[in-house]
C-alpha cells in the first residue's frame, strides 16, 4: 500500500500513531513492511491456507463475535442435506469433471430451490459467462430460510464452516505458506484481540489477491474472517480493495465490461433473456429480501435514458435492441479470437495490452491479425507501434511488411483538459474542472465517442435494417460546448436520471428509490442516482476537510446516496445501540424513531431494530430491523455462498496453475474450474505431479513500483518518473543469487514456457527464500512496467511476456501474481536465437499444448 497507494497509506500511519498494529503479509519486503509492526513473507499463491487457518483458529478458540455472527450473518442458516464438502479429490458436490463446472443445486439453503441464474452454466460458448455480481448478492428464490441460532445443527453454515477449515492448521501454514508458528500466532492474536465491541480490524488487499486462478476465493476468505469477527459495516473494519487506476471503480460501476450494464445489471444472455420479463425473472425473485427486487425500475430507467421516447411499454422499452452474450467474451477470450483471425477491429482507450496484459507475445501476435486498430492515448505506446518495433520483429516471428493491420493513432486529452468525474477506490465521485484546452488533435473520449456516434447515426440514418434500430433510436443529442465537446455535466445528469412525467417532470431524481418501472423516470446508472440531487453536481462539492466531520460527507459524493460506509447498520447492535462508545457510527434514535449517526444510514431510515416482517414479505419491506445486509437476498452477510460462485461455496486451497509445490490438501493440484486456453501461443509450465516441473523451479511474482503506473503509458514517457526508475530489474535473494551465480547490478535471464526476458539483478533480502514442505523455495520478483518499443523515454523487456493465461472462472482475471520460471545469469539471446533458447527449455520440460492443462489431477502414480 505504501508503494502503490502512497497517499492513502498516510491514514494507516495515522492509525499506527494512535496505537493500531500494522501487519504486512506479502512475499516481498516493501516500503509497507518497513513501517509495519510485522512483516509476514509467504509464498505467492498460498494465501487461502493462511486465511483458512485463521478461520479455523477463530472458530476453534471461540474467538468469534457471537452476537454479530448469529444476528448478522448466515451462520445459523441450514443448508441442503445433499451438500457435500470437498472430498480428498478436492471438489464439492455437483462437480462435472468433463466440463469443469458445478451444478450448484446441492449448495442451496435448505428449502430454497436452485435459481436459474445461479450457475450460469447454460452458456453455449466455450467458457461460461462467469458472474456479474458486484453491487449485490446473488439471487435467492425467497428469504424464508431455516435457522438454528444455537449454531449446533450439523447442517448449519457455522458447522459446515468449522468442518471445512478443520484441516487448515498452523502446521499446514508452515508447510504450504512458509510462515512459521510464531508468525502465525501473532497474526491470530492481533486480529482476535482487535475485534469485538470495542475494537475492529481492517483488511486491505489489491491485485496481489485478485490476480489468481482462485482470486475471488481469496477475497471471500477475508470476508469470512471479517464476518466472524464482526468487522463489516463498522468504523475501522471492512475489507478495502485498493484499485490501481484513477477510475477503475467507476469503470466497473458504469462498466466498460462485457457482462454488465450500468449499476451491475447483467448483460442479457442469449436463450435466457428473450424479453424483459425473462430477464427480470432470472436476476431476482420478488420474494427475496432487499433492494435488488427493484431491478425492474433500474432497468427500465436505463432503457429510457438510452432510447428516450422510443422506449415504450409496447416494445419492452427497447430491450430487444440490446446485444446478447453467451459465454466468456472478456479480453483474454477476445485475444484467442484475435489469434484465430475472427476479430477485425480493436479499440484501445488508454490501455497498453502489448505490455500490460499477460502473455504479451500473444497480445502482439493477436493485434497483428487485426484488420484495423484504433489507439487513443497520450503517448505513442507499444501497442500502437508493435508492427515496427515489437520484440517479434527482432525474432523474425513478424515482419512489418507482412502485417496487414491498419493503425489509427488518435491523441487523447489529459485530465486537466476535460471535465468529468473519477470514482475513487472508496466509491467516491470527484468532479474535475477543465483547466485548459487539449493541444492539437488531442480530444477527450467524450468528444471522440460522441463524434463517432454522430457519424455512425448519420451513415445509418436511412437504414431500413432492423439491426440498426438500436443505433438509430439512441438518445444522442448532447449539448455541445463551443469546441464541439459534449457537455460532461449533461452526461452526468443523464446518468443521474430525471422524472419524465408528472408534477416533477424534468427534475433530477434524488434517489434510486424514486425510479419507476413504468417509463416515467430515466437514469443511466441507478447506483449513481443522487449525484445530481436537487439539480446540483454533488460530485463537485469541495467543502474543505478541515471544516467537516471526520467522515467528510461534503467532499465529492459516494454511491449509493452518499453513504461512505456500506452496510453501516451493522455498526449498531441488534437493538440499534452502538456496539460500544468507541465504535459508534450509525444508531437508532429512539426519540426520533430514525437511524442517525456520522454517516448516511445504509438502511431504511425509519425501520426500527425490532421490526419483523410478516413471513413471506419480499423486497425492502422483507428486511427485518436486524438485517443489515440490504443487498443480500436474505439480509445477512454470507459466510457461506449458496449461489453466485462458480468454484465452490467456501474458499479452498488449490495451487496456482503453475507451481513448484504439490497441493498437500487434495489430490486436485489446481482449481478444477479455472479457465484455461491450451494452445501453442499459450503454453503452460508443468507443475507436480506432472514431470518436468524441475525445469522451472522458482516462483515468479509481478508488481508495481511507486514511480511507475501499470504498463507505463503515463509514466515511462515522462523524464521525471523514468529517471526515478529507469530500468527493468528482478529482485532475488542472496541465496538464490549464490545458487545461480547472479551478480547485483548485472544481468539475468528469466525463462518460462512463453519466452525469456532479461533484467538487471537486484540482490536483496527483501525476497527471502521460504522453507516449504521441507525444501527451500525461491521467489523472483518482477516489476512489470517496461516494454519493448522505440518511443518511451525508457524501455525494456516486459515481465508480462513471461506469463501465461489462466483465469479465475468467476471474473476471468488472469493469474499474474504466481507462476513459475527459471533464472540464469547474463543477457538473453537475441533474434531467432531467443526462440531456440526458449524451445530448448520447453523440450527439457517436455512441454506440449496439454501440459499443465489437464483439468483433473490423476491419482498418484498414474502419470
Amino acid at each position: 500500500m505504501a508503494e502503490c497507494h502512497p497517499v492513502g497509506f498516510q491514514w494507516v500511519m495515522e492509525a499506527k500513531a494512535r496505537g493500531a498494529r500494522v501487519i504486512h503479509i506479502d512475499p516481498r519486503f516493501t516500503r509497507t513492511s518497513a513501517v509495519a509492526d510485522m512483516h509476514v513473507p509467504l509464498r505467492a499463491g498460498s494465501d487461502i491456507v493462511l486465511l483458512g487457518a485463521l478461520i479455523n483458529h477463530i472458530i476453534s478458540t471461540q474467538k468469534y463475535f457471537r452476537e454479530y455472527v448469529v444476528s448478522y450473518t448466515n451462520a445459523a442458516t441450514l443448508v441442503n442435506e445433499d451438500f457435500k464438502d470437498v472430498d480428498d479429490v478436492g471438489v464439492f458436490s455437483g462437480f462435472d469433471a468433463q466440463s469443469g463446472t458445478y451444478d450448484t443445486s446441492t449448495w442451496q439453503y435448505l428449502g430454497v430451490e436452485e435459481t436459474a441464474a445461479a450457475g450460469n452454466r447454460s452458456a453455449a460458448g466455450k467458457h461460461p459467462t462467469g458472474q456479474e455480481l458486484g453491487g449485490r448478492g446473488s439471487k435467492l428464490e425467497h428469504g424464508r430460510v431455516q435457522r438454528d441460532e444455537t449454531l449446533q445443527d450439523p447442517r448449519c453454515v457455522f458447522q459446515i464452516l468449522r468442518r471445512h477449515y478443520a484441516r487448515y492448521t498452523a502446521e499446514l501454514v508452515e508447510q504450504v505458506c512458509g510462515v512459521g508458528p510464531e508468525g502465525f500466532a501473532k497474526i491470530c492474536d492481533a486480529i482476535t484481540a482487535n475485534s469485538g465491541r470495542e475494537r475492529t480490524t481492517a483488511w486491505v488487499y489489491s491485485v496481489g489477491w485478485t490476480q489468481h486462478s482462485v482470486g475471488v476465493q481469496y477475497i471471500r476468505g477475508a470476508c469470512i474472517i471479517q464476518l466472524l469477527l464482526g468487522n463489516i459495516g463498522r468504523p475501522g473494519g471492512g475489507i478495502m480493495a485498493l484499485r490501481g487506476h484513477a477510475s477503475i471503480q467507476g469503470s466497473t460501476d458504469i462498466p466498460t465490461l462485457f457482462n454488465l450494464l450500468p449499476g451491475y445489471l447483467p448483460m442479457p444472455k442469449a436463450g435466457e433473456h428473450e424479453d424483459l420479463s425473462s430477464y427480470f425473472e432470472s436476476i431476482y425473485s420478488p420474494d427475496q429480501k432487499g433492494f435488488w427486487t427493484s431491478a425492474e425500475a433500474y432497468t427500465v430507467s436505463l432503457l429510457k435514458a438510452w432510447f428516450g421516447d422510443m422506449a415504450t411499454a409496447h416494445n419492452d422499452y427497447g430491450f430487444h435492441w440490446l446485444p446478447r452474450v453467451n459465454g466468456d467474451h472478456s479480453t483474454y477470450s477476445t485475444l484467442m479470437d484475435m489469434l484465430d483471425g475472427t476479430v477485425e477491429g480493436y479499440f484501445l482507450l488508454g490501455q497498453n495490452p502489448a505490455v500490460g496484459s499477460s502473455n504479451g507475445k500473444a497480445q502482439r501476435l493477436g493485434m497483428a491479425q487485426l484488420k484495423w486498430l484504433v489507439v487513443r492515448d497520450l503517448n505513442m505506446i507499444e501497442s500502437a507501434t508493435f508492427w515496427k518495433d515489437g520484440p517479434e520483429i527482432a525474432t523474425g516471428e513478424l515482419r512489418t511488411e507482412d502485417i496487414g493491420t491498419e493503425v489509427f493513432f488518435l491523441p487523447a486529452a489529459a485530465h486537466t483538459e476535460k471535465k468529468g468525474t473519477f470514482t475513487n477506490t472508496q466509491r467516491m465521485l470527484q468532479w474535475r474542472h477543465k483547466a485548459v484546452d487539449p493541444p492539437g488533435d488531442a480530444r477527450s473520449e467524450l468528444h471522440f465517442f460522441h463524434q463517432l456516434g454522430v457519424e455512425l447515426r448519420r451513415k445509418l440514418a436511412g437504414s431500413p435494417l432492423e439491426r440498426d434500430a438500436g443505433l438509430r433510436n439512441l438518445t444522442w443529442d448532447y449539448p455541445l460546448e463551443t469546441d464541439g465537446e459534449p457537455d460532461g455535466e449533461a452526461v452526468l445528469q443523464e446518468i443521474n436520471g430525471r422524472h419524465r412525467s408528472g408534477a416533477k417532470a424534468g427534475q433530477m431524481l434524488s434517489s434510486f428509490v424514486d425510479m419507476k418501472a413504468d417509463g416515467s423516470t430515466d437514469g443511466g446508472c441507478w447506483i449513481y442516482t443522487g449525484v445530481y440531487a436537487d439539480g446540483v453536481n454533488q460530485a463537485a462539492r469541495r467543502r474543505p476537510g478541515q471544516e467537516q466531520s471526520w467522515v467528510a460527507p461534503e467532499w465529492g459524493w459516494a454511491w449509493p446516496l452518499n453513504r461512505r460506509m456500506l452496510y453501516n447498520r451493522a455498526s449498531a447492535d441488534p437493538d440499534g445501540k452502538p456496539w460500544s462508545e468507541r465504535k459508534r457510527y450509525v444508531w437508532w434514535d429512539e426519540a426520533q424513531q430514525r437511524w442517525t449517526g456520522e454517516d448516511v444510514p445504509d438502511f431504511p431510515v425509519d425501520k426500527p431494530p425490532s421490526f419483523r416482517p410478516a413471513p413471506g414479505t419480499g423486497g425492502p419491506g422483507g428486511l427485518a430491523g436486524d438485517d443489515p445486509f440490504i443487498m443480500q437476498a436474505d439480509g445477512k452477510g454470507w459466510l457461506y455462498a449458496p449461489s453466485g460462485l462458480l468454484d465452490g461455496p467456501l474458499p479452498t486451497h488449490y495451487e496456482p496453475a503453475e507451481s513448484p509445490v504439490r497441493n498437500p490438501l487434495y489430490r486436485q493440484q489446481s482449481n478444477p474450474t479455472r479457465e484455461s486456453f491450451p494452445r501453442q501461443e499459450n503454453l503452460t509450465n508443468p507443475s507436480p505431479p506432472e514431470p518436468g516441473s524441475e525445469v522451472f523451479p522458482f516462483v515468479v511474482t509481478t508488481y508495481r513500483l511507486t514511480e511507475h503506473h501499470t504498463a507505463g503509458g503515463m509514466s515511462r514517457f515522462l523524464p521525471y518518473l523514468s529517471e526515478l526508475q529507469p530500468e527493468f530489474f528482478c529482485e532475488v535473494s542472496p541465496e538464490l543469487a549464490r545458487e545461480r551465480n547472479l551478480v547485483n547490478g548485472g544481468w539475468a535471464t528469466i525463462v518460462s514456457a512463453r519466452t525469456a526476458v532479461e533484467a538487471r539483478v537486484l540482490v536483496t533480502e527483501r525476497l527471502a527464500p521460504l522453507r516449504i514442505d521441507g525444501r527451500v523455495i525461491h521467489q523472483v520478483g518482477l516489476p512489470y512496467h517496461w516494454g519493448v518499443g522505440g518511443s518511451a523515454v525508457v524501455s525494456g523487456d516486459s515481465a508480462n511476456d513471461l506469463l501465461g493465461i489462466a483465469l479465475d472462472p468467476n471474473v476471468h482475471i488472469q493469474e499474474s501474481k504466481a507462476a513459475t520460471c527459471d533464472i540464469r545469469p547474463g543477457r538473453r539471446p537475441t533474434g531467432p536465437a531467443l526462440l531456440r533458447f526458449v524451445e530448448e527449455h520447453r523440450r527439457r520440460a517436455g512441454i506440449t499444448v496439454t501440459t499443465g492443462n489437464i483439468r483433473m489431477t490423476p491419482p498418484e502414480g498414474s502419470l
Binding site: A246, G271, N326, F422, R542
Partner: protein
C-alpha cells in the same frame, strides 16, 4: 547594493548577525532566489482537479497562466490527501506538458513501414466506415438454436479505467447499441 547590504549578503555574516542562526533560511538566500516568485503566485487561475494515476483520488490544484498549465500541486482542502501527492501525482504537470506527447493523428496503412499524417475529421470518418463495414460482415442475428444474439464478435474494445465516468457511459452506450459486446477495461486485469 550598499556596503552594509553587501556585507549582510555574506551568508556567514548574515547567519551570525541575523535571526537565522542555523543558516537554513534568510541568511543564506541569494539575490537570485530572492527575486524568484513561485509559479503558483503568478498564475492567472487555479482549477480544482483530481490526480489521474491511482484510485486514491488525491485532490489537485492546477495553476494556469496564459492558457497553459504551469504547475500542479496537492489540494490541502482534500480530506483524502490533505495536500499530499506521491511521485506520480507530483509529476502530472509533466504528463500534461510532456514534449514527447503526440498531439497529431498518426496513420499506418496496412503493410506500411511508417506513419503518415491524417486529418482528425478524416480519421473519425474512416474509423466509422471500418466499424460499419466489419459490423455488417460479422453480424450475428441469432445462434444456431434461433436465440437472439444481435451482435458482432468482429469488434472489441479495451480501456476505460483512466477515463471519466461520463466517457465510459458514452462508450458503453454507443457500443452496446451498435451490437459490440467485447467491451472491456483494466478492471478485468
Amino acid at each position: 547594493m550598499g556596503a552594509r547590504n553587501r556585507r549582510r549578503s555574506w551568508p556567514v555574516l548574515g547567519q551570525l548577525t541575523g535571526a537565522d542562526r542555523l543558516g537554513r533560511g534568510a541568511a543564506v538566500e541569494s539575490a537570485r532566489t530572492a527575486s524568484l516568485s513561485p509559479r503558483t503566485a503568478t498564475a492567472d487561475r487555479v482549477v480544482q482537479s483530481v490526480c489521474p494515476y491511482c484510485a486514491v483520488g488525491c485532490g489537485q490544484r492546477v495553476y494556469v497562466k496564459n492558457e497553459k498549465v504551469v504547475q500542479i500541486e496537492g489540494d490541502p482542502d482534500s480530506p483524502i490527501s490533505r495536500g499530499r501527492l506521491c511521485p506520480k501525482g507530483s509529476a502530472s504537470e509533466q504528463l500534461v506538458n510532456n514534449p514527447n506527447r503526440v498531439t497529431s493523428v498518426r496513420y499506418r496503412r496496412p503493410y506500411a513501414t511508417d506513419w503518415e499524417d491524417l486529418p482528425l475529421d478524416r480519421a473519425v470518418d474512416m474509423i466509422s466506415d471500418r466499424l460499419l463495414d466489419t459490423r455488417a460482415r460479422t453480424w450475428q442475428e441469432a445462434d444456431k438454436d434461433g436465440n437472439k444474439l444481435r451482435r458482432t464478435m468482429g469488434i472489441a474494445s479495451l480501456g476505460g479505467a483512466t477515463l471519466d465516468n461520463e466517457e465510459n457511459y458514452l462508450i458503453k452506450k454507443l457500443f452496446t447499441a451498435a451490437g459490440v459486446v467485447q467491451v472491456e477495461n483494466q478492471a478485468r486485469i
